[in-house]
């Protein structure tokens, strides 16, 4: 690719990055605290792209001035680089500098993905490809957060470790409110449907699905529908509190409300 195209590609990547960073869609991919870095990186790319594009356009102009055709001659985009190459076969890249690396075309792929597909946050498809085993990561659980209305709002990550591993059973008798999406309507021959939310460590690439099995007489909502569920905890038969479980914890549902996907779909 010639220098003008290199510059345009950089401008496009920078522009899409900034636009993504300024919109809510960024939260589908990365943690909110990294969005400022995106904006800075996008700005740098815009600057580099503009410089490269201008250099490419000037080279074209000098081609015209020197009477060369649009694609003849001028194998190098800049006299400086010409000298550099003449001086000692310096650039050890093994390809013509003015052509630009061909692999750079791959950078167009995320642009088109963002523009055409507008990838959504991880949903039921990704959740069902995971094993869903939740491991206990804390040894003390602390007090429950204060109730809002008549239920305690909890993150799914918080609910699941308390439900499976808390020796003091802090969830006993508490009405809790959980927000997530439906990942499966029938959980493998068991009673309920799966309420899921993804937890991110780094970014969407390492998202871990956290599941809660919702049981009760409320009908299962549609798959991938976001819901707010209120209910109480019930221990699964045969599960010893504190032991590693391959199955998600239970929630006996009392009310289900459909809702919009939250702006920040992942739990951090």
């Amino acid at each position: 690719m010639d220098e003008r195209t290199q510059g345009a590609l950089l401008l496009a990547v920078g522009g899409v990055t900034i636009r993504l960073g300024l919109s809510d869609a960024a939260f589908n991919f990365i943690r909110p605290e990294y969005v400022p870095l995106q904006l800075i990186a996008g700005t740098v790319l815009l600057v580099l792209g503009a410089i490269t594009l201008l250099r490419g356009l000037r080279a074209d102009v000098s081609d015209v001035v020197d009477g060369r055709g649009p694609d003849e001659g001028h194998m190098h985009h800049d006299d400086d680089v010409q000298d550099a190459v003449a001086g000692g076969q310096g650039h050890a890249h093994g390809h013509d500098h003015a052509q630009g690396p061909r692999v750079a075309w791959m950078l167009a792929a995320p642009l088109f993905a963002i523009l055409l597909i507008a990838p959504p946050p991880l949903g039921s498809f990704a959740a069902n490809r995971q094993s869903g085993v939740i491991q206990s990561s804390v040894s003390t659980y602390g007090p429950l957060p204060p109730a809002e209305g008549d239920a305690v709002p909890l993150r799914l990550g918080d609910y699941t470790v308390r439900a499976l591993y808390d020796p003091e059973q802090s969830l006993e008798g508490q009405r809790v409110r959980l927000t997530g999406f439906v990942s499966r309507q029938e959980a493998d021959g068991e009673e309920g449907w799966l309420l899921t939310r993804f937890a991110l460590n780094c970014c969407a690439a390492d998202g871990t699905a956290i599941n809660v099995e919702v049981v009760g007489d409320q009908p299962a909502p549609a798959v991938d529908q976001w819901v707010v569920v209120e209910g109480t905890w019930r221990n699964r038969d045969g599960h010893e509190i504190g032991e590693l479980s391959a199955e998600p914890p239970l929630l006996v549902v009392e009310s289900v409300q459909t809702t919009e996907q939250p702006v920040e779909p992942y739990e951090i």
């Binding site: 990294y34 995106q38 740098v44 060369r68 690396p101 692999v103 523009l115 490809r129």
Partner: protein
């Protein structure tokens, strides 16, 4: 080349002869790219139905997130490697190295920690060092360590694996160890004749111009490979059947070999490879450490670069050496880390049921 071109311009010999067929036009790539982007934005509603498949969307989410997350680190890396290529005189490095090879090698290895940048930069710098009389073994130790243990890479690794300082420490230790071992092996067994014609970067370009060009070129190169790496991780997550994934990730020896080969085939920049590794979540940390240590040491891009700077015969010997040493060091450090931290994630993959 410059004189020749000037001569040809003076005599008019650089114009195609009258009556000869006009030169074939290159594809108007800029115009095609612009049209494609505008079309994508405008035609998006038409495409909405076609591109709604769950697998495609999930795949896109994963590979876009890897690319986006790594982008700032890549940008910082190419800015600094461009600055180093343009503004830092290589002589400064040679003066700092001890005279005796046996001490120069570890010092050169550690010096890599101070020079952030992609592997694209370290090969020409090593070439310059060797061309100016630095001990080749020390130059190679530097060439291997600089892309792998510099601050940007370590920060990126910490961001990619939050709450796992053991992973960052293991990467630093294993890469430094591999660089030093390769240096010593080359000092002992290497053929000095193989690098007689080491070529370095020429410095006659104006510094700021060189800075901009190196940064642009490195970003385009690294960015392209990053996208390929992200696509590979996404494909493993979404498309590869679970039975194959179980075989790959469930068996430690296969996992290590698979990720070592993947690291060679995917020439991902070291600032970004941690984010691809984070997408390989079924694999044990030892196998992922192998991926992180082998990548900056030997991959298809590096082999091409080294062949260009040091010659093909050199590259044919150096690449396998670096590969074997990198794998061995990563496996050793990974097992040690697993033993020290008593964390099973070092030796066990999380296999998808």
């Amino acid at each position: 080349m410059t004189e020749d071109l000037q001569q040809r311009r003076a005599t008019g010999a650089d114009q195609p002869p009258v009556g000869a067929p006009t030169p074939r036009r290159r594809l108007p790539t800029l115009e095609l790219l612009a049209i494609a982007l505008v079309a994508a934005v405008l035609l998006r509603p038409r495409f909405a139905g076609l591109l709604d498949g769950d697998a495609l969307q999930t795949w896109s989410t994963i590979f876009v997130s890897i690319t986006i997350q790594a982008l700032p680190f890549l940008v910082l890396g190419v800015l600094i490697s461009g600055a180093i290529a343009a503004f830092v005189p290589p002589l400064a490095l040679t003066r700092l190295l001890p005279r005796r090879t046996i001490f120069a090698i570890p010092v050169a290895g550690l010096a890599g920690a101070a020079l952030p940048g992609c592997e694209c930069g370290s090969v020409p710098i090593a070439g310059r060092l060797a061309a100016r009389g630095a001990s080749p073994a020390a130059a190679f130790a530097f060439m291997l360590s600089a892309p792998a243990i510099n601050p940007i890479v370590l920060v990126a690794t910490a961001v990619a694996f939050p709450g796992r300082p053991d992973v960052v420490a293991a990467r630093f230790t294993a890469s430094l160890l591999a660089a030093i071992v390769v240096g010593y092996v080359w000092a002992r067994y290497g053929d000095p004749d193989l690098i007689k014609d080491a070529k370095g970067y020429d410095e006659s370009a104006t510094p700021w111009s060189m800075f901009g060009q190196v940064a642009t070129h490195d970003f385009l190169h690294a960015g392209g490979w990053l996208v390929l790496g992200g696509m590979t991780a996404a494909t493993l997550q979404v498309i590869v059947p679970r039975s194959i994934l179980n075989t790959l990730a469930g068996n430690e020896v296969i996992a290590i070999l698979a990720l070592a080969v993947l690291a060679v085939v995917l020439a991902i920049c070291s600032e970004a490879d941690a984010f691809v590794a984070t997408g390989l979540s079924q694999f044990s940390f030892t196998s992922r450490l192998v991926f992180l240590v082998v990548g900056p040491a030997v991959d298809i891009k590096l082999i091409a670069l080294q062949a260009g700077v040091f010659g093909r015969r050199f590259a044919m010997r150096f690449a396998p050496l670096a590969f074997v040493v990198a794998v061995a060091c990563a496996v050793g450090i990974g097992l040690a880390a697993g033993a020290i931290t008593d964390n099973p994630s070092w030796t066990q993959g999380v296999v998808v049921q």
